[in-house]
């Protein structure tokens, strides 16, 4: 009997310790950053419906420069004689969503789908999916800085 009382007192003690403090929340909540992919992007790899065509064409001249105005996408310039979705060499660009972007939109109305989520502002590679002509012909570009 004495052992039972001792055990119950111990459990009560433990229980009182566990309920001692209210759980505290981060008063500032989660911080969401605006995606930053600024810089000059070059081509690392290109596929056409899954077939690697990187060495089939001259992609060396390709350079996509994405600028920001503060934290907001602003202008772009494209130095290229290689196939790419936008048909203008400079203009403005934007994301479909500045925090959770899935599409890059160029000012001529063309767009490139982001194949992988951008998890940080220091991304060193950009994976895009575009259509150049035929709707069922998908090109995937891996761009690197």
């Amino acid at each position: 009997m004495k052992k039972i009382i001792t055990t119950m007192c111990f459990m009560l003690f433990i229980g009182l310790i566990g309920c001692d403090d209210e759980p505290s929340l981060n008063p500032e909540g989660f911080t969401e950053f605006k995606t930053d992919i600024s810089g000059i992007w070059k081509i690392s790899n290109v596929t056409q419906n899954g077939i690697d065509i990187t060495n089939s064409l001259d992609f060396k001249s390709f350079a996509l420069n994405l600028d920001y105005n503060g934290t907001t996408p602003s202008n772009f310039s494209l130095a290229s004689k290689s196939p790419f979705v936008t048909k203008i060499s400079e203009g403005s660009w934007s994301f479909d969503d500045p925090i959770y972007p899935t599409i890059i939109i160029f000012s001529d109305g063309s767009s490139a789908k982001l194949l992988k989520p951008i998890l940080s502002s220091g991304e060193k590679s950009l994976n895009l999916e575009i259509v150049l002509g035929c709707g069922n012909m998908v090109y995937q570009y891996k761009l690197i800085k």
Partner: protein, 315 residues
């Protein structure tokens, strides 16, 4: 009488007398029967017999000309034994040194159902055969020749003629046999009797003129002028925004990659290949293939024009 003769001026002679004379003097020689195997194994020596009937329109003696149509890679010039027996004598044939005979045969009668890659080989009898005006006679031509070493389906052909009348219309006879097949080789069957294989393919299967297009050129098919070429270049024409532009000068941007025996390929993106603005609207693209010098050009055999790239996109 003199007045009557004068009436036969040059015009009357050309219109009336000359055709009658021609008909009278036409030498009639025909192949009435051919015994030839319908199939063979690569490298096999086959025997062929031709039944020949002759209706001389004059008394004279001539060599007999024999033409045999075979695939280009059959070496019958060196492996054929050709002989003849006839009412008017027997003898042998030899390969003629006159290369023009085979060309005349090709020009006059063509190459049968074969789409190409065949040749006429001309033999001439070593001795002359006498004929007497209006006295018909018959003969047999016996051929033993070795077929090639590749699987092929082809239509063989035979021409008989005489040295006196040459390879001319109405003075020869030509017969093409049913297509025969040679098998046992390692290559896939080359069906010369079938439709002309198209030498150019495009990938992907669906595209617009704004897509990257891989062009493969198989010099083994269709016009074979670039067979054995060391380098092959593409010469292109584009119409963009209503303006035509050509790229033909051989350089590193339009040279094709060799990916197999006489098989070449290149990937192009129209705006890059033709150095067009990125916003150009391409409405037409076509190509031919040529050697480095540009004196051998392969075009579409069906149209005699460049190979046109026709958009195939359905989406």
């Amino acid at each position: 009488m003199k007045n009557l003769f004068n009436k036969f001026n040059g015009r009357v002679f050309k219109i009336i007398i000359f055709p009658l004379l021609f008909l009278t003097l036409t030498f009639c020689i025909t192949i009435s029967k051919i015994d030839q195997p319908s199939n063979a194994t690569i490298g096999e020596k086959i025997k062929i017999n031709l039944q020949v009937d002759v209706k001389p329109s004059e008394s004279n003696e001539y060599n007999v000309i024999l033409g045999v149509l075979v695939p280009e890679n059959w070496e019958i010039e060196t492996n054929t034994l050709a002989t003849y027996t006839s009412d008017n004598g027997s003898g042998t044939f030899s390969l003629t040194p006159d290369a023009t005979l085979a060309l005349q045969m090709t020009d006059l009668v063509g190459i049968g159902k074969n789409y190409g890659r065949v040749k006429w080989v001309a033999f001439v009898s070593d001795g002359k055969i006498k004929g007497t005006n209006n006295v018909n006679f018959s003969g047999q031509i016996h051929l033993e020749m070795t077929v090639g070493n590749e699987n092929v389906k082809t239509q063989l052909g035979y021409i008989v003629a005489t040295s006196g009348w040459g390879i001319s219309d109405k003075n020869i006879d030509v017969k093409f046999t049913d297509c025969m097949e040679v098998s046992g080789g390692t290559n896939s069957l080359s069906d010369l009797c079938g439709p002309i294989p198209f030498p150019v393919t495009f990938k992907p299967s669906q595209f617009t003129l704004d897509d990257v297009i891989k062009i493969t050129f198989d010099a083994n098919k269709g016009p074979t002028d670039l067979l054995g070429a060391e380098k092959v270049y593409i010469c292109g024409t584009v119409i963009a925004d209503g303006i035509q532009k050509d790229v033909c000068v051989a350089n590193s941007s339009n040279i094709l990659n060799n990916i197999g025996p006489n098989i070449w390929e290149i990937s192009i993106w129209g705006k890059q290949f033709f150095n067009l603005p990125m916003g150009a609207n391409i409405t037409f693209m076509s190509f031919n293939f040529r050697n480095e010098v540009g004196d051998i050009i392969v075009k579409n055999r069906d149209t005699l024009e460049d190979f046109q790239i026709t958009p195939s996109c359905k989406f």
